[in-house]
């Protein structure tokens, strides 16, 4: 497969997201620009300009009408995807590290940083899709405060039933999005090893976490039970579950501050593919010159993209061997 290299950013990537149909890819980086790309050919559709600081996070509404971004300038901005206009700005006391639309798009959560005397919070904002996209609620409808350890990432489970958050101390917790109560908290990863990413399966009944403790884990959304563990030999920044084939993709690498002391060969700047069920590593894809900060999979499972510390986004459209690969047991199952 020939990767498409997108070099629209001048600084390291922080997050990339495909939209619901997989035809658009959104990327954000520390250089304040938000880019929209056609995933098929890597053409840039446009940029969303306005942020005053590093953009940490991006998410697309399920109907590809609105784009939400969270930034170090303490704002969450809502953009009209088609025109590139900023339709709404919410101010927060601290930087916003993660935004996520609920599965039906009616709510948006924003994870704020713990800093300057403010505790880390998860804010939930109601989103409306009227004629005038700018007509949004001014205040979050709910604020969940993380007293113990700040949340670093969060997402919505199936039917928006729970908010699942990953914490700085390596635990995962489950919140009720209506009341804001913490329903469960499980120490999934090693203590004090930050969870860097949470991504859900297509039906959102389970999710994968990527942690600094060099492992990724598959958890059920309802019980927070650890279903699978994928050990790696490097801190992980991102993990994604592939539809269509039963794989997971992990991205990571030597921490940015240690990079200059290691060669590209040792830096482990590769996307690692594991079989989701058998937990075996089945291959790696090399290419980036720095750690992979973020990976995302095309919703149809035909491509994946990775964004690295090196400022590049690489879109890989899978070719035949990827789809053909099967375990012996899978093949036997097919024959029956």
């Amino acid at each position: 497969m020939r990767p498409i290299l997108l070099s629209g950013h001048e600084r390291s990537l922080t997050q990339i997201r495909f939209n619901g149909d997989g035809d658009l890819l959104f990327s954000v980086s520390k250089d304040k620009i938000v880019c929209a790309w056609w995933s098929a050919n890597g053409e840039r559709l446009g940029t969303y300009n306005g942020h005053q600081g590093a953009v940490w996070t991006v998410d697309v509404s399920p109907n590809t009408v609105l784009l939400a971004t969270g930034s170090a300038d303490n704002t969450v901005r809502l953009w009209n995807i088609k025109t590139g206009e900023c339709v709404k700005i919410w101010e927060f006391p601290t930087a916003v590290k993660r935004v996520a639309f609920s599965p039906d798009g009616s709510k948006l959560l924003a994870v704020t940083e713990k800093r300057m005397g403010f505790l880390g919070t998860i804010a939930v904002i109601d989103i409306s899709y009227g004629e005038n996209l700018g007509a949004q609620a001014d205040e979050p409808s709910l604020r969940i405060t993380c007293n113990e350890s700040k949340a670093t990432v969060a997402g919505w489970s199936f039917l928006s039933k729970y908010i699942i958050a990953g914490h700085e101390d390596g635990s995962v917790s489950q919140y009720d999005p209506k009341t804001g109560d913490q329903l469960a908290n499980v120490q999934v990863h090693e203590f004090d090893m930050q969870i860097n990413d949470i991504q859900f399966s297509p039906d959102r009944t389970y999710f994968i976490t990527a942690s600094k403790d060099k492992s990724a884990k598959l958890l059920s959304a309802r019980e927070l039970a650890i279903l699978k563990t994928y050990p790696a030999d490097t801190p992980l920044n991102s993990a994604a579950i592939t539809p269509k084939k039963e794989y997971v993709i992990l991205g990571g690498g030597q921490a940015a501050m240690d990079v200059t002391t290691t060669s590209a060969r040792q830096g482990k700047f590769e996307a690692r593919f594991y079989h989701k069920v058998f937990e075996d590593e089945i291959g790696r894809v090399r290419g980036h010159f720095g750690p992979l900060n973020t990976v995302d999979v095309h919703p149809a499972g035909t491509a994946y993209a990775s964004g690295g510390e090196d400022g590049y986004v690489r879109i890989h459209h899978f070719d035949k061997p990827y789809f053909d690969f099967m375990y012996e047991v899978e093949r036997e199952q097919m024959r029956k």
Binding site: P3, L45, T64, F325
Partner: protein, 286 residues
């Protein structure tokens, strides 16, 4: 060159009064479904250039969600505002092809590939380290230029075993490296008297000494006998100066030492004429 070619007819000459005007673009449909487009333009030197392009049109039909189709028609915005359709070169490029084959024994395969790469790398490293090295003082200059040329003997070179007679790694400083060594004991810089043999010196390691050879032996016969194990570079059969009869020993040099080893194994004890040959590796003349 194209000035004449692009005129359809000589009769058009009169109408073609403006020499700076460019002929209209021609589009010819070919039988195989392709189109040939001939157009003209001026190049940087203000010369007329004819450009012939053959275009094959392939229609790829794709059924997409109407929403996706609607999105395709969106105009570019932000930094891309006003740019032409299609990927622009400053933001989008295509990377090198990556072979990605998922496999359960992925690690073993990767290791193998790495080993191959590693070997290549080490070979490179070896070559990289092949610098000019003085045999006398191991400095980075030719032996002939060594400042200690006249006062020191060359460092001992490993002789036995290695195929490469010129293997450079010094086995350790010889005991006499600091004191005078007479010319006939110097290994590397063979003295003037040995120069004549010097040209055979190289194949010493692939040279067999054959003894108990019949007096009636012929060089050609020996060559035929030994050639079947590999390329023979030299056959020397010692003869009596007066009688021209063989003295009973010969030297056979091979191009390749492995051939010599094989020949030595097979032919030692071989019955040739009425005698049993004795074949062994020739010893150095020193």
């Amino acid at each position: 060159m194209s000035r004449l070619g692009n005129r359809a007819d000589w009769a058009d000459d009169e109408e073609f009064d403006d020499p700076s005007a460019l002929p209209a673009q021609q589009v010819i449909s070919n039988k195989d479904g392709t189109k040939t487009v001939i157009s003209y333009r001026f190049n940087d030197d203000n010369k007329k250039v004819k450009v012939t392009r053959r275009i094959k049109t392939t229609v790829v039909r794709e059924n997409v969600n109407p929403q996706v189709a609607e999105r395709r028609s969106w105009a570019k915005f932000g930094l891309e505002k006003g740019h032409a359709a299609g990927p622009s070169f400053d933001t989008t490029s295509v990377g090198e092809n990556i072979v990605f084959r998922p496999s359960t024994n992925w690690k073993a395969q990767a290791k193998e590939a790495e080993k191959e790469g590693g070997e290549k790398g080490s070979m490179k490293d070896q070559l990289k380290d092949k610098k000019v090295k003085c045999r006398i003082c191991s400095g980075e200059h030719f032996t002939a230029r060594c400042p200690f040329k006249d006062t020191m003997a060359p460092v001992e070179e490993p002789t036995a075993g290695g195929m490469d007679a010129g293997a450079e790694d010094a086995g350790g400083l010889g005991a006499g490296s600091s004191s005078y060594v007479p010319p006939h004991l110097r290994k590397g810089g063979a003295g003037g008297g040995e120069k004549m043999a010097g040209r055979f010196e190289k194949d010493d390691l692939a040279t067999l000494r054959v003894t108990n050879v019949s007096e009636l032996a012929e060089e050609q016969e020996l060559r035929d006998l030994f050639e079947r194990f590999g390329r023979v570079t030299r056959v020397f059969l010692a003869r009596d100066r007066e009688t021209q009869r063989a003295k009973g020993f010969a030297f056979i040099s091979y191009a390749d030492r492995t051939d010599a080893v094989r020949a030595c194994e097979k032919l030692d004890g071989f019955g040739y004429r009425h005698l049993i040959l004795r074949v062994e590796f020739a010893k150095r003349s020193t």
